[in-house]
Point group: none
Chain length 217, copies 2
DNA sequence: CTTTCCCATCAGGAAAAACCTGATTTCTTG
DNA sequence: CAAGAAATCAGGTTTTTCCTGATGGGAAAG
C-alpha cells in the first residue's frame, strides 16, 4: 500500500502537533518531516521528497510566500497547501501566482485540512472561500498587484523618506521645512504614496509602516 | 475527584483542537468551553466559571489584551494563561500589568503549556523566557507607559469606543453614522480624547492604541 | 536622437476636517 | 440640592486634504 508523504512547515508546535493528531487515523497519510523555519522548507523537501507540503505563511527567516516560490521553482511536482491565519490574506494573491494547490484557514474546522489533502491528492485544488475565479479577475485587472512589502520597495527614495515621516506623525508643513521644499510638493508625494501603497487614510499608512518595521509603535 | 475547568480562547480551530488532544490523557483537567472571539471571553467565563482561561492575543473584535483586562476586573479569581505567537510581544508588558498567571509561546513544545497549567494550578506563575524580573525593570523605568495606561482607563465608555474607532482609521463621519450621533459630537469626543491622552495628532493616537493592544497593527 | 516614462517639484480650488468655544441635558455623587 | 462628569450638538475660523494639472530633468528604450 502506498503512503502519501507529507511535510509540515509551521513554527507553532501546537499546530503541527494538532495536524499530527488529526492524521493519526489516516493510514494512507504519513508525516515524514516537520520544519519550523522557512529556510528549512526547500532543503527538507529535497531530502524527503514529500507529495504535499502543508505550510504556514508566517515563519522565521523566510516567509511561506518565499518558500513557496522556491519550491515552485526547484520542486514543481510538490503540491503546496497553505494553512494560515485569516488575517494574513495580503499574501494570498502572490501565492496564487506561484501556483499553490490549496488554501485552508486555521480558524476553520481542522477537518477542512484533511479534505483539502484528499482533494489535492486527487489532482484537484482546494480553496475554500477564496474562490480562485474571483481572485483571477483581480489578478488580471491589477497589473501591479504585489505584496505590501514589494509596494514599499517600489517607493522612490524621496517617497520613502516622506512615507516614514508621515507614518511617524510629522505634519506636511513640518516635513516641508525639514526637507526645504514646498508643502505642496510634500502633499503631492503623499498622494502618490497613498496610491502606491493602496491606502486611503493616514491611519492605514501608520499601521502598515509599523507592520513592516519602518517605524516603531 | 475534583476536575479543574479550563476555557480556551483562540480563533484558530487547529490550536484549540491541538490543546484538546494534548489534554486528553489528563483526567484532572477538563476543557469546559471554547470561544473564537475576544468578545465572547468574558460572558463565557461568567457562565462556565473556569479555573483557567488559556487565551491567544490576536482575536477578532476584542483583542486578548482587552479581554484579559476585562477578566481581571470582573473575574479576578480566574487565572489567565496567554498562549500566543512569538511575534506578538509588544503586548506582553501590558499583559503583565494586568496580572496574567502564565505566558507560553505557540512555537514552544506544547508540553510547556501543560507544565504552565500545573504551575498555575499550584498557585504559581509560569513565564518561560519572559522572565518577570527582567520585565519589572522595564516596567519601572518606563513610568510614562504606566501613566499612558492610566490615561486610557480614564476615558469614559463612549470615549473609549470612539478612541478605538479613531485609532483604527474610521473617519469622523463614519463613526457618527455607526453610532447614530452627530459628527459634531464625535468631533467633541475626539477633542476630549486627545486632551485626556495627551496626544496632538491622529498618528500618535494610533501608535498609542497599538502599544496598548487596543487595536492590532 | 527622440520619445517615453519616472521622478521631483509646485499651484489652484473645492471639499472636508480640525480646532476651539459655548451650550444643553441627564445622571451620579457628595 | 449643588457640583461635576458624561453625552449631546452648533458656529465659525483656520487648516488640511483631495485631485487635477503642469514643468523640467534624467534615464531607458526604440
Amino acid at each position: 500500500m502506498h503512503k502519501y508523504k507529507i511535510l509540515l512547515a509551521d513554527d507553532h508546535k501546537v499546530v503541527t502537533a494538532g495536524i499530527r493528531s488529526l492524521m493519526q487515523r489516516r493510514t494512507d497519510l504519513c508525516i515524514v518531516g516537520e520544519v519550523g523555519d522557512g529556510a528549512d522548507v526547500l532543503p527538507k523537501t529535497c531530502e524527503l521528497k514529500p507529495d504535499i507540503v502543508i505550510m504556514d505563511i508566517s515563519m522565521p527567516h523566510v516567509s511561506g510566500v518565499e518558500a513557496a516560490q522556491a519550491l515552485a521553482e526547484h520542486c514543481p511536482q510538490v503540491k503546496i497547501i497553505i494553512y494560515t491565519m485569516h488575517s494574513d490574506p495580503r499574501f494570498i494573491l502572490e501565492l496564487f501566482r506561484t501556483g499553490i494547490a490549496g488554501l485552508v484557514m486555521k480558524e476553520e474546522d481542522p477537518q477542512e485540512l484533511i479534505a483539502a489533502v484528499d482533494c489535492v491528492l486527487a489532482g484537484g485544488t482546494a480553496f475554500g472561500k477564496y474562490n480562485p475565479q474571483r481572485m483571477v479577475s483581480q489578478l488580471l485587472q491589477s497589473t501591479a498587484d504585489v505584496s505590501e512589502t514589494e509596494r514599499i520597495q517600489e517607493l522612490s527614495p524621496r517617497e520613502a523618506e516622506i512615507f516614514k515621516a508621515l507614518a511617524d506623525g510629522h505634519s506636511i508643513k513640518h516635513i516641508a521645512l525639514e526637507l526645504h521644499i514646498s508643502p505642496k510638493t510634500v502633499e503631492t508625494h503623499k498622494y502618490n504614496i497613498f496610491d502606491k501603497l493602496h491606502v486611503e487614510t493616514l491611519t492605514e499608512l501608520t499601521k502598515l509602516a509599523i507592520r513592516h518595521g519602518v517605524i516603531l509603535a
